[in-house]
Symmetry: C2
Subunit: 336 residues, 2 copies
Amino acid sequence: MDALVAPKPRPRGSVDALIALAEADMAQVDVVVRARMQSPVALIPELAEHLIAAGGKRLRPLLTVAAARLAGDRSEHCIRLAAAVEFIHTATLLHDDVVDGSQLRRGKVAAHLIWGGASSVLVGDFLFARAFELMVETNSLRALEILARASRVIAEGEVLQLTRAHDLRLTQDIYLEIIKAKTAELFAAAAHGGAVVSGAPEPDIAALRTYGEKLGFAFQLADDALDYGGASEVLGKNAGDDFREGKATLPLILAIQRTGAKERAFWERTIARVEQKEGDFRRARELIVGTGALAATLTLAQTYAEEAKGALARFAPGPWRAALEDLADFAVSRAA
Amino acid sequence: MDALVAPKPRPRGSVDALIALAEADMAQVDVVVRARMQSPVALIPELAEHLIAAGGKRLRPLLTVAAARLAGDRSEHCIRLAAAVEFIHTATLLHDDVVDGSQLRRGKVAAHLIWGGASSVLVGDFLFARAFELMVETNSLRALEILARASRVIAEGEVLQLTRAHDLRLTQDIYLEIIKAKTAELFAAAAHGGAVVSGAPEPDIAALRTYGEKLGFAFQLADDALDYGGASEVLGKNAGDDFREGKATLPLILAIQRTGAKERAFWERTIARVEQKEGDFRRARELIVGTGALAATLTLAQTYAEEAKGALARFAPGPWRAALEDLADFAVSRAA
């Protein structure tokens, strides 16, 4: 591992403890998800199943459940809300893939390439509406407000990113504003909503929201680093997607700033005009690693992970708190 | 006017009385709509303004206001809900135009042709989420449930229509199921929600929902007839859109059934394969008028209009009831 990339060892986190603790709850969430993605219109469950069966770690509903459990709630109030969170997330993935023209999602061919963009848009709308139906059943107007706001903020973040795509002058501040809206807001709302339906005291609710938000930043920044191979430069299945789409993320933004006039023509061609050829991604990766842009991105991600863990300090030590601390470290260590 | 088309005179309705009665309320709705379509992301109000400024009659929020007023409510509870209804409707228009590839909307170039499909999808998502934020502010979980359900049913109807587009075997029953979901449901929910926030007695609430639903059927069927020039065969700005998209609506479904094997090749080419040439629309219109398919569509629309008016019989006579009766007749007479 390059010294520029890893100036000091980072804690190795894991999501395993959380998955084990939440296993029974998440099985219930799964039952609700599968029951409520049904429709007499056959294409809807067929398309939804494609995405939902592909799985992923279901981090956002996990957060809802974990926040409620850490707040001491033993009831089932959080289950429907967690399923609603998963539906909102799935709806945004369907719409994002249409918007970005993405080829792959969760390692499978993106739904819009199989069923067409129109179906992805409309099934996204279905899942989004279904999420609100589920939330009505939680009887918590406050949880509904949190998730309605999050859904609106996500859309604002997506539009902001769309209008700034291919923009070489994008700054770190604006980029953080974009990912606050398009990623951190739903992580925050997932934990916030879980805390609210648990009936936790206000300071606990606020702390859990902060945990979710900081965790969201950490995950997104680590994802951005992973798209360039992460610190270990092992390229995952979807590595290079951001670059190929000419999408400016933090590693790229920092590399553009740090290479200055010298590489201006390269970035103009590959990112602003998205005219790419063989070897461009490798060169971009070398510049991103060589300028320390990748390391800086991961350092910032780790800062957010530490802030996330810090927000949990007010809770008594125990398995849920430890599992959420591990999750915060995992957000970054999977890219290190 | 052709005898086949207009077997008996229909009542001439008008929307003018309702617009006059609701003027002050709708001015308040407009203030909320304009305030809540704002966003720090400039593209969002810009795109939303394009559609919202184009206006239209704002029938759905009008229904919400009128239902509350007819139910005797003098408060402002219905205003935010009416604005939410308008946002949901605008969101579905934005997504529909992307899905259908429509060229025009409310007489203006469709938003996706100006700002791109991605922006239309995301601004639709913004407006949809904003609608739920507004509904939270009404403090009525029941109204929220009605509109969340309607949003989900609309998406189901759109997907159903998408999977049955270009299908020459589409029956009247399935077509009515489609428009029940994609049009009548939101008319029903708009009136239903208005009645619910007014705190009306349950039988009044049920009657107002029925009024909205039947009115929705009447409007959609008359729109379908208008797309072929209506009974007077005066072609409006967007006439022929359904035909050009190969979209089977009731006038077409009935004409296909009534012309049988004789015109099979014509429908196969123009609707199933959407291979159209000069003069095809005129010929389709002649078949639709000549077989009485247009007249049958308008007769069915009038039946729904009568049922809508019938649902109002339980309310004491007065200006709001009379205006809603006029609206039901107007739904059909504008196509006659």
